[in-house]
Amino acid sequence: MEAALAHNAGWRLPLLGLMALMAGGLALAGLALGPVEIPPGRVIATLMGQGTPVETAIIWQIRLPRILLGVAVGTALALSGASLQGLLRNPLADPGLIGVTGGASLGAVAVIVLGGLVAGSLPAWLLPWLLPLAAFLGAGIVITFVFALARSAGETSVATLILAGVAVNAIAGAAIGAMVYISTDDQLRDLTFWTMGALGGSGWSLVAAASLLTFATAPVLFRQSRALDLFQLGERAAFHAGLDVEGVKRQIAIATALAVGAVTAAAGPIGFIGLVAPHLARLALGPRHVVLLPASVLLGICLVLAADLAVRLAVPPAEPPIGLATSLIGGPFFLWLLIRTRGRTHA
């Protein structure tokens, strides 16, 4: 579909390798760079368990969970985005489009604004998990609802799926608006910042939970690469090629909801990664999903880690939200994509 930079098969493996190197390099940079200067030698010593208490706290409690969460966020968003774009045959599809992110946001915002009402009657150990659980549930409920709505007579209509997603997004947006309206000043600020996302606001337990869910669902999506290729021929053609069309839809829906729900719960809604990473990957490596999916994941990880590094190093000791950085990359790219597509249809 896009201009072929390297549709020549010989280039694919080296390019994938290069992306992996980039992701690895960014992860190392994320470990070594930050507002506190720690020389590489000390970073290694700290990893070996010979750091000072401050170095140990910075590397083990702050930077490592951040990088792991960044990898999980990049993987979940880019992989879900690439799968949904393939499944829905819509280049603008991303987890936000079918309402997953909206559902997660509604859950989180509801906890921020209304959580105080129920907090007293809950056990103390549950309180830190309340927001991520609500975000996760919100994502799950929305995707179940959207798929149930789009399913009739044993078939899931892709068009209805997108429309239902748009409608659910509008409803979630309105509900969030209502929450904003009744929120106090403090809550308003909390939820404004939450909706801009952050990798730094989560401790190990939440990061571990989000990563586990992401990496457990990733193989499910990777396995669909041939099915997604067939989907490009149209659903009917895919069906006649012997594909269990409904099964593929169901698996992708569940895996996407789990992964995106988990990372959104931990890091907030981080925009544009799910849209941009697959497009970049397609541009570089062509539309075949067997390379597109891993390439999207690697580029997604690169984008998230680079954005996180940027916000960490921009104005220390303060830190702008990561959503700002990804949207600053994503927004212009999205416009460029629009203009390009328009140019092509008018040509």
Binding site: G34, P53, G201, P316, P317
Partner: protein, 285 residues
């Protein structure tokens, strides 16, 4: 580089005599920053949050950002040995990470009335090792506040005030009861016309009209952001109130008016003077 050297030097110098006093303090909360400076520990402050804008020296100090969205590593990069945090500072994870790195965190009590400010002063004093000085300052504060409010209580008129925090989605956000704006209005000898609403809430145009405020009170920064207080006074729902018709509005620095810091008695006096200049002068304000 030179800054770093000086920094290292000051650290080692202050570390030489074994002091219990923290030497590198990060403050998250404008009111707390004011107290630290008033206690004479300003030169030990190495980082402040967004709300810390007084005294002017704070502009030279490293900015750690928004108090509820602190970056743990950002704060650690200032190598603090004490973080004095407002009661609502966060996120919790950042606080835990700071504690794991061996930084002492002193979370100040919340002040819901102006009288509670003396508690905050004592708290900060204990945290920075200036308890005695803080005791004196707290006593002086309580005395000042009592003196000022005794005078404002004698003022002949009780003007009907409305505090506008901001204009959100086209509706003015009004300070109701339980807010620091409400407390300041009362202390300055006014009546809050929006006392029946709770917290900062948007108020409908008709409710504002029927509340009939005589004076609009705003934060200077927000009034400027909306294009000046004249712009606010000319909004249709406000233009028809007594305040709008007589073009009466008072703007004050946000931290001074609402910060509940050590300058609160002065802020009360300033507000009272702005409301009824002659009577305030006669009362000795």
């Amino acid at each position: 580089m030179i800054r770093r050297l000086i920094l290292a030097l000051t650290v080692s110098l202050t570390a030489l005599p074994v002091l219990a006093e923290p030497s590198r303090i990060v403050v998250a909360g404008g009111d707390l920053t004011e107290i630290v400076f008033a206690l004479g520990a300003g030169e030990r402050v190495v980082g402040v949050d967004q709300t810390s804008s007084f005294p002017a020296e704070t502009a030279e100090i490293a900015q750690i950002g928004y108090v509820r969205r602190l970056s743990s590593e950002g704060v650690l990069s200032l190598a603090p040995d004490l973080v004095i945090a407002a009661h609502d500072a966060g996120p919790d994870v950042a606080m835990e990470q700071l504690e794991a790195a061996g930084v002492t965190i002193a979370k100040a009590p919340a002040a819901t009335t102006a009288a509670d400010i003396s508690e905050k002063i004592r708290f900060v004093g204990a945290a920075i090792g200036a308890a005695e000085k803080a005791e004196d300052m707290a006593a002086a504060f309580t005395e000042d506040l009592a003196a000022v409010t005794a005078k404002t209580a004698q003022l002949p008129n009780k003007p009907r005030l409305m505090f506008i925090l901001a204009i959100r989605n086209g509706a003015p956000l009004i300070g109701g009861s339980g807010t620091s704006a409400d407390e300041m209005i009362r202390l300055a000898g006014g009546v809050n016309v929006a006392a029946e609403i709770d917290g900062y809430k948007p108020m409908s145009q008709e409710a504002i009209l029927s509340a009939a405020p005589e004076v609009i009170v705003m934060m200077e920064q927000h009034a400027t952001r909306m294009g000046g207080v004249e712009e606010v006074l000319s909004r249709p729902e406000i233009a028809l109130t007594p305040a709008g018709q007589n073009a009466r509005a008072v703007t004050m620095d946000g931290m001074l008016l609402l910060g509940f810091g050590p300058r609160t008695p002065a802020a009360v006096a300033e507000l009272a003077r702005a409301l009824q200049p002659e009577a305030a002068k006669a009362a000795g304000l």
